[in-house]
């Protein structure tokens, strides 16, 4: 491994999710944080990835097509009217 070496930007961008999931070994994690502290480009990259993750989390309530929703609600009413025997 590259344990003794500094981390490069092109290596850092590939392990951001490993970093966020706390899946880096201690040596790699140290190289990651040391690089990040000194590199504006990588700092911006990690910040933007975090922003992206946050925005993706707001998509939860978005746009289910109405026809599928209607079919599911109809199924619910049927189930309510005729609960199936167990």
């Amino acid at each position: 491994m590259n344990q003794g070496q500094d981390m490069n930007c092109d290596e850092l961008v590939e392990v951001v999710t490993d970093f966020l999931d706390d899946a880096l070994d201690a040596a790699t994690r140290r190289r990651f944080t040391e690089h990040l502290a000194e590199c504006d480009g990588c700092d911006a990259y990690v910040g933007q990835l975090r922003t992206t993750i946050g925005l993706t989390g707001t998509l939860r309530a978005d746009d289910l097509q109405p026809d599928l929703r209607d079919r599911l609600l109809t199924a619910f009413r049927d189930w309510k009217a005729h609960p199936s025997p167990r």
Binding site: N8, V16, Y45, L55, T56, G57, T58, R71, L72, A75
Partner: protein, 226 residues
């Protein structure tokens, strides 16, 4: 009831579940509608990785909800309600996929779209240059207020980019980042080794970031042009 919440914050699953399960058993249609709205897009994305068409994926989702309703009395809260729903979904999707003989196991060898660098190598200095491997064109700050990023235009864009991800990345991003499931839960549901789960997640995230970057920069160019 958690149904009225509009914040993206994730409620602690277990307590929220107890009330929700009770409401569903009691036939509370609003509670069901809310749950359906929140989970179905992710369910479609996960099912799409297992069956041949969108139409079949919708049938799988419908069949899953019926199985959820008829199985509610057996739900004991050992997992979160969400995880339980996705476990049923994957059972239904796999048996359906097997019947259609087109199951793509999540653990199969990575296809080309799931390997290689996630950031264009041209953005880094080449091997024969000074500072090789460092940014040649670093990301520029977005400098946008949060409200701009939460605009409906950005959401539509992000949604489209999510829908366009390769199937396995799309399923993992839906479960982790849209639904907020834990890594371990996603691995168990999809039968993925944890390293592979992170690879798929990271590739999906990197693609979505790139789409947002392209949008922000293009917008700025337009502004400069007036």
């Amino acid at each position: 009831m958690e149904g009225g919440q509009t914040t993206p914050m994730r409620p602690a699953p277990r307590e929220a579940d107890a009330g929700l399960v009770q409401a569903l058993r009691g036939g509370d249609e609003a509670a069901f509608a809310d749950l359906v709205t929140r989970l179905t897009p992710a369910m479609l994305a996960v099912a799409a990785g297992q069956v041949p068409s969108r139409a079949v994926a919708e049938e799988v989702v419908q069949e899953t909800w019926l199985a959820v309703l008829t199985g509610l009395d057996r739900f004991e809260g050992r997992s979160s309600l969400r995880t339980w729903v996705f476990a049923i979904l994957l059972n239904v999707a796999r048996s359906r996929g097997a019947r259609e003989s087109r199951t793509i196991p999540f653990s199969s060898a990575f296809p080309p779209e799931d390997v290689g660098p996630t950031v264009d190598p041209a953005r880094f200095r080449g091997p024969d240059q000074e500072w090789s491997g460092h940014w040649a064109s670093p990301p520029r700050g977005w400098d946008l207020p949060e409200s701009a990023l939460l605009s409906s235009e950005v959401r539509v864009l992000l949604r489209a980019a999510l829908d366009a991800l390769p199937p396995r990345q799309r399923a993992v991003v839906h479960l982790r980042d849209v639904q907020g499931l834990e890594a371990g839960e996603v691995c168990a549901l999809l039968g993925l080794e944890s390293g592979n789960q992170r690879v798929l997640l990271h590739r999906g995230r990197a693609r979505l970031r790139q789409v947002l970057e392209d949008y922000v920069l293009e917008d700025r160019v337009d502004e400069a042009r007036g």
